[in-house]
Symmetry: C2
Amino acid sequence: MNIDVTIIGTGNMGRALATRTIAAGKSLQVLARSTETAATFAAELGSSITSGNTAEAPAGQIVILALPFDAAKEYVSAQGAALDSKIVIDISNPVDFSTFDSLTTVAGSSAAEEISALTSATVVKAFNTTFAGPLTAGSAEGTPLDVFVAGEESARNTVASFITAAGMRPIEVGALHHARELEGFQLLVMAMQVNPALPDFNWGTALKIVG
Amino acid sequence: MNIDVTIIGTGNMGRALATRTIAAGKSLQVLARSTETAATFAAELGSSITSGNTAEAPAGQIVILALPFDAAKEYVSAQGAALDSKIVIDISNPVDFSTFDSLTTVAGSSAAEEISALTSATVVKAFNTTFAGPLTAGSAEGTPLDVFVAGEESARNTVASFITAAGMRPIEVGALHHARELEGFQLLVMAMQVNPALPDFNWGTALKIVG
């Protein structure tokens, strides 16, 4: 089975990423902890989508971890050699969700780097600054969504091509350690969404470079 | 002499900030190392602008350091008690400009926090994500420029009111330590402007939250 993209997880971000993957004309596999949940999710998205359980090896060349940070670490640890030669996309934000005021990673590191340390796959950071609503649409205020990408150059280019095919604008920001800055800024953007003093920000916003 | 805003520095950012300060209807003093440079700068901007030398105490309630990081540190150290009870705005980006790949601050700190440690003034981070061109205009693609502000709440609110009066949109992101995330992300944005692979980014862009 030759699959372009495997998405791990069927939450809001998994659904948004699946929508974009289908829009890109890529073949898609969806894996979840519950085989039934994955099958229902795949059926809703289209009959050509395959599905399965996270216990099985992912088929996609690109594997997108549509998971929270801790679950993402567990997943790559459990997969071991099944991820060899894959490109794994980490979308997570290691935010302390009880305060929205700090990261759960230590200064000078990032979720993406921590995940990378647990796997032989090439980890790329992307989609951590895109909320599910705009990501489903692929656009914000009528222009393609900006998707920031950090990672090793060849893998990063592959992910950028996927993003372009999916109708969005990839912005490659360099090596994987730049996930630190992407995750750091998204802490601020997430905190805006829950700040009662900023009623215009309600999880439908997008971060964009204009001009 | 009761002055609203003193700007230290007559470079591109000083000029852009002076333009916005005048647009806000605020009284403005400009200080430079060269008295003559400051006087010429002030005369170009309007006859009501006062000017002087950085050796004298700034008159403004708000003092904007339109200076690079190292010069900003030198300035506040030299001023000492002259900055007591002032709000000092740090706009700097502690970027390694030889590589555009790292910050010159250590992980877990920020230029704003380092400057704050050198002065009795209340330091607020703002305008580090706004390039001079869009800042002069106060807008990007027809909408008010987003200006991210970090600092102690009361001083931050004062700066936010100034930004609103100057025709832009303040986004208050919390305490001064959040300058870390603002400076970190701007490293990426600056690197984009000098990246030959991204020819659309040429120092005229703006960072914006849309939607």
